[in-house]
């Protein structure tokens, strides 16, 4: 019947989609015919379709209008038209969250779900569960229990799946239905069995023992449903992962036995589970891979796809195992299904030798235009991984990438390519010029603002240091003329960097800046004016501070400080040093197969970890007047993982004080701890000022106590200190079941591990994108230099790693990566010393018998220099 309507609409010329130009208000107006008697099912059906279409298009319905439409719809329950009734169920589910008083249909749905009409029962259960909340659930509990064990599979499945949804909301009620679910799990219907198993698992998933019992039972008794088998395999592999048990456990045997199942789905699931297991030995892997290998030559495309996709994923982890399938993968290169062919080639690229790269690249470029974006991204990822493996191949790759960049493609795809080119540029200095040239060409015609600004930023950073910087100016200035505001602003910043770095370009840049000052956009004009004035001063220090290395403070912190400053007017000018520094996000070292495309843009405005601590500490009265929080360390464990009490410490550094935050967890369910304090005995001239106890520490609820320590004033170079820590508290025994404590308790103490304060706690990491400019800016007023011999270190890599972790400073200019086969290296480190002075370290390393290190330290403050040299020595 619907079809007929569609046809009519098509004829009236509304194009391929009859619902394209629906107006919400018009549809709601039409919905009034729901109130007419007698009901015209055909028309009502059509209007409900329109409403659901609008809802699914994301149209916003106000509560009042939604409620009105909903109540009108409830009248349709008087019709016995089957299609209309089922459409009502759909509407109820769609509107469950936007209309008020949806529980009005509870009785009507209950009637349908217990009625004789089987086509109504399943959908009625699903709709009912959507409108039911915890308080109402009790009322329908009886019906749900009956429905779970119903003879009709669709009813039983609906009830089970709906229960699964309700577990999130009212776990305790649904838990009472376990017996019914158990009964359903022995059903003959494959879907019912699968859904029942799902519900049982989710009811027990927090109880590892119960899960393993359940697994035991089902693996012994066997199941009928292949879906349920797949689920069991997933549960088993999750359990294996959690328990970190050896692979000789019965669970692993079960998964392995599934490799011999009759059903291909189960076999694949088992193989995939084994392949994805961490620390899998080659012997355990072999049967799984051989199954996948068999699938590679299956006549079914889905199986071939599944197999090659799994192999592709694990190619880097277990290259030797995958290499065994190379012959089968070679056959798949010419597969008529392009997705399979792409995955096969990228897998081969990951595992193959350097010599085969050219051949494979040629093969893939023959059909790259025919595959979807998603797979193109996979190709780009493979290329990116390949570049890291075979840096010498970068010219082949770069050519290929630039060709891909010219083709059509979506944002994700383009971003993957750009990220890949950027990472190649960073890895191989010799590829920089070609890479930048390709990117310049790309931004000439780039519709993605994000990518254009990213590339402009990169040009500003890298361009001035190339042999002929002038050729980039044209590309950048073209953007100022042609693009949107955001891109124009980024282009202005990039131009400024050229002007600051290259004296011979400065006059031309100034002329261009002058033109930018006429821009129609505020941000662009502001930037141009600012840079213009800075550049005209022609001072290296200014350039370094304001053009190369921007603000290093945390933006939310700056906002808060400025707000505070405007609230309390004072004579003193605003001091940037009082603003907490931005913590450099802990960038994970790019692993070998860094998935370039998945690297998300950092969420800029989310407050950092440190901002959260700052807020927490500021709310404690004793810690007011300490000034801004300078640095918070990573948590340090002061106990073993499996002890009675788990304590970890976070060190917060302030200008003259330190606050130690002890996060304690009581893992004994028969004890309540009160007045918990960690007593600290310093080894140096540190003075403990205050202890702030945690008032009470019930079972498994973490609590924090604090200690405030003053740093020694008279000897500013005494930065390291060892504290011996003891936790003291009042114990009250309590009933493990109720948590009701006894009336009286007794004092007790618990010795913790020693806590070290090192130089790294006094230095905050700051990234200086242009280290040499920063080096000049700080100047050599307090420069000191010393040479050390690191006897115990054998390689440059090791030495670099040690220095970075010891000083806790940020490596700049990618100097933390030591090129291969070199026996000397220069490491640049930047940081801010407690109190707000920049500290820069240049360490020249030479590899001889051990490693010899010449350290040069610069800072605006002599103490900082001394502290660093003293601590290194």
């Amino acid at each position: 019947m619907i079809k007929k309507f569609d046809k009519k609409d098509e004829e009236s010329g509304s194009g391929s989609n009859p619902f394209q130009h629906l107006e919400k208000s018009a549809v709601l107006q039409e919905a009034r015919i729901f109130n007419e008697t007698p009901i015209n099912p055909r028309r009502c059906l059509h209007i409900l379709t329109k409403i659901i279409y609008l809802l699914n298009q994301g149209e916003h319905f106000g509560t009042t209008e939604a409620t009105e439409a909903f109540f009108a719809m409830t009248r349709l329950f008087q019709s016995n038209d089957q299609t209309l009734r089922r459409m009502c169920y759909l509407t109820i589910k769609e509107m469950a969250n936007i209309s008020e008083d949806v529980i009005i249909v509870t009785s009507s749905l209950t009637k349908d779900m217990t009625g004789k009409e089987d086509v109504y029962r399943g959908p009625a259960i699903r709709a009912l569960c959507r409108i039911t909340d915890t308080t109402m659930l009790q009322a329908i509990e009886r019906y749900m229990k009956q429905a779970i064990v119903d003879k009709v599979p669709s009813v039983s499945s609906s009830a089970l799946v709906s229960s699964l949804h309700m577990v999130k909301m009212s776990y305790d009620v649904v838990k009472r239905w376990v017996n019914e679910a158990q009964e359903a799990a022995s059903s003959d219907n494959i879907m019912v069995q699968y859904h029942a198993l799902g519900l049982l698992y989710h009811l027990r998933k927090n109880d590892r023992l119960a899960v393993s019992k359940m697994l035991n039972k089902f693996t012994k008794s066997g199941l009928k449903s292949p879906f349920a088998y797949c689920m069991l395999i997933r549960i088993a592999s999750k359990l294996l992962e959690e328990t970190e048990g050896g692979h000789d456990s019965p669970l692993f045997d079960f998964i392995e036995s599934c490799l011999r199942n009759k059903n291909e789905m189960v076999v694949y699931e088992a193989a995939s589970a084994i392949v994805h297991m961490p620390n899998c030995t080659a012997r355990e892997l072999a049967p799984a891979v051989s199954v996948l290998q068999l699938f590679c030559s299956s006549p079914k495309a889905a199986l071939r796809y599944a197999a090659v996709r799994t192999l592709n994923k694990v190619a880097m982890k277990h290259p030797s195992a995958v290499t065994a399938c190379n012959l089968d993968l070679e056959n798949l290169i010419t597969d008529s299904n392009r997705s399979i062919a792409t995955l096969a080639i990228t897998t081969l690229l990951k595992t193959g030798s350097e010599s085969s790269v050219d051949r494979l690249m040629k093969q893939i470029s023959s059909f790259v235009s025919e595959i979807s974006d998603e797979f193109k991204v996979v190709v780009v990822q493979a290329i990116s991984a390949l570049c890291q493996k075979y840096p010498r191949k970068h010219s082949v790759m770069m050519n290929f990438l630039s060709n891909m960049l010219r083709d059509d493609g979506g944002f994700e795809y383009k971003r993957a390519i750009v990220d890949c080119i950027i990472s190649i540029i960073e890895e191989n200095p010799e590829s920089k010029e070609t890479g930048l040239a390709h990117l310049c060409e790309f931004i000439e015609d780039c519709e993605h603002t994000v990518l254009a600004t990213k590339i402009l930023h990169l040009l500003g950073k890298e361009g001035p240091r190339t042999p002929s910087p002038s050729k980039y100016i044209r590309f950048i200035f073209n953007r100022v003329v042609l693009e949107s505001e955001a891109v124009r602003a980024a282009a202005v910043s990039a131009l400024a960097k050229f002007g600051a770095q290259n004296d011979d370009l400065l006059p031309s840049v100034l002329v261009l800046m002058q033109r930018c000052m006429m821009d129609s956009d505020d941000e662009v004009r502001d930037r141009a004016t600012f840079y213009m004035n800075v550049l005209q001063q022609k001072q290296k220090a200014l350039n370094a501070a304001y053009i190369f290395n921007g603000l290093s403070v945390s933006i939310p912190g700056l906002e808060k400080s400025l707000h505070q400053y405007t609230l309390e007017p004072s004579e003193k000018p605003f001091d940037m040093k009082t603003v907490p520094l931005a913590t450099t996000p802990i960038t994970e070292q790019k692993t070998e197969i860094a998935p370039v495309a998945t690297s998300k843009l950092p969420e800029k405005l989310a407050p950092s970890r440190q901002d959260i601590y700052q807020e927490q500490l500021a709310s404690i009265p004793e810690f007011q007047g300490l000034g801004p929080l300078f640095k918070s360390s990573e948590p340090v464990q002061l106990t073993e993982a499996e002890t009675e009490y788990v304590v970890r410490c976070i060190k917060h550094t302030f200008t003259r004080h330190m606050v130690f935050q002890f996060d304690c967890t009581n893992t004994l369910n028969d004890q309540l701890l009160q007045k918990v304090v960690v007593q600290m005995e310093p080894s140096e001239a540190y003075e403990v000022l205050h202890y702030i106890p945690a008032p009470s520490l019930p079972y498994s609820q973490p609590g924090s106590c604090y200690s405030l320590v003053r740093l020694p004033d008279d000897d500013p170079t005494a930065v390291s200190c060892t504290f011996s820590c003891t936790m003291k508290y009042l114990v009250r025994d309590c009933d493990p079941n109720t948590g009701e404590p006894d009336d009286d308790g007794y004092d007790d103490e618990y010795v913790l591990e020693d806590l070290e304060v090192t130089v790294a706690d006094h230095i905050q990491k700051v990234l200086k994108p242009n280290f040499s400019a920063a080096w000049e800016e700080v100047g050599d007023d307090f420069e000191k230099e010393e040479t050390f011999a690191l006897a115990s270190v054998r390689t440059l890599d090791e030495a670099v790693g040690n220095i970075i972790s010891f000083l806790g400073m940020q490596p700049c200019e990618r100097s933390d990566k030591v090129p291969e086969n070199k026996n000397s290296h220069v490491l640049f480190l930047a940081g801010v010393f407690r109190g707000g002075n920049d500290v820069l370290v240049r360490a020249r390393l030479a590899l001889g018998d051990g490693v010899t290190m010449q350290v040069t330290v610069r800072s605006g403050d002599e103490t900082a220099v001394d502290v660093i040299l003293a601590s290194v020595g």
Partner: protein, 196 residues
């Protein structure tokens, strides 16, 4: 509706459909009454408190009734009004054994009758003084006094004593309702038809 339909409706050949609201406090017996009126083969065996509403259908000699059997629990009573506009008559059920909540019933009735969708319409209201089998049940006269039914001037109304479990008194009420509705909607012809 086509001319033929109209004609057959006029001649009483096809039964005219009417929408009825069944209201009243919780536990007054609304669902039980409606259940009794349904054809014997579709009657439910057990009656549970209604949440929201149920739609039921039954036929009398000349009319086909579609009844919206509303939930009487206090927190759902404010949902009644969504269904006022499209109903042609109201059945109001009172538990005649529940003296204590008679005032509550009166209050709900007054709110109902003064609602803007009801106030100006001459829609028939049928009262069932239900549960007459109870020992301390009041008579229908007493109930109508307590509810001040004599003050209802602008609507035809009628009160019946009933025992929904046995089905006593229900037919009398439905016959009255049919008479009034036929009078209003079916025209004189159908009215006389029912009289014969």
């Amino acid at each position: 509706m086509g001319l033929l339909d109209k004609l057959s409706g006029w001649l009483g050949l096809r039964k005219k459909e009417v929408n009825i609201l069944c209201l009243g406090l919780d536990n007054s017996g609304k669902t039980t009454i409606i259940n009794q009126l349904k054809p014997a083969n579709t009657q439910a065996q057990e009656i549970v408190p209604t949440i929201g509403f149920n739609i039921e259908k039954f036929k009398s000699s000349s009319l086909s009734f579609t009844v919206f059997d509303m939930s009487g629990q206090s927190r759902y009573r404010n949902l009644w009004e969504h269904y006022y506009k499209e109903s042609q008559a109201i059945i109001f059920v009172i538990d005649s054994g529940d003296k204590l909540r008679m005032v509550v019933a009166k209050e709900e009735l007054d709110t109902l009758l003064s609602h803007q969708d009801i106030r100006s319409r001459r829609m028939p209201v049928l009262f069932f003084a239900n549960k007459t089998d109870l020992q301390d049940a009041m008579s229908s006269v007493k109930v109508s006094q307590l509810l001040c039914l004599e003050n209802i001037k602008d609507k035809p109304w009628h009160i019946c004593a009933s025992n929904a479990i046995k089905g006593e008194g229900l037919q009398e009420g439905v016959d009255w309702l049919q008479g009034r509705l036929s009078f209003i909607y079916g025209g004189l012809f159908a009215y006389t038809y029912t009289l014969i």
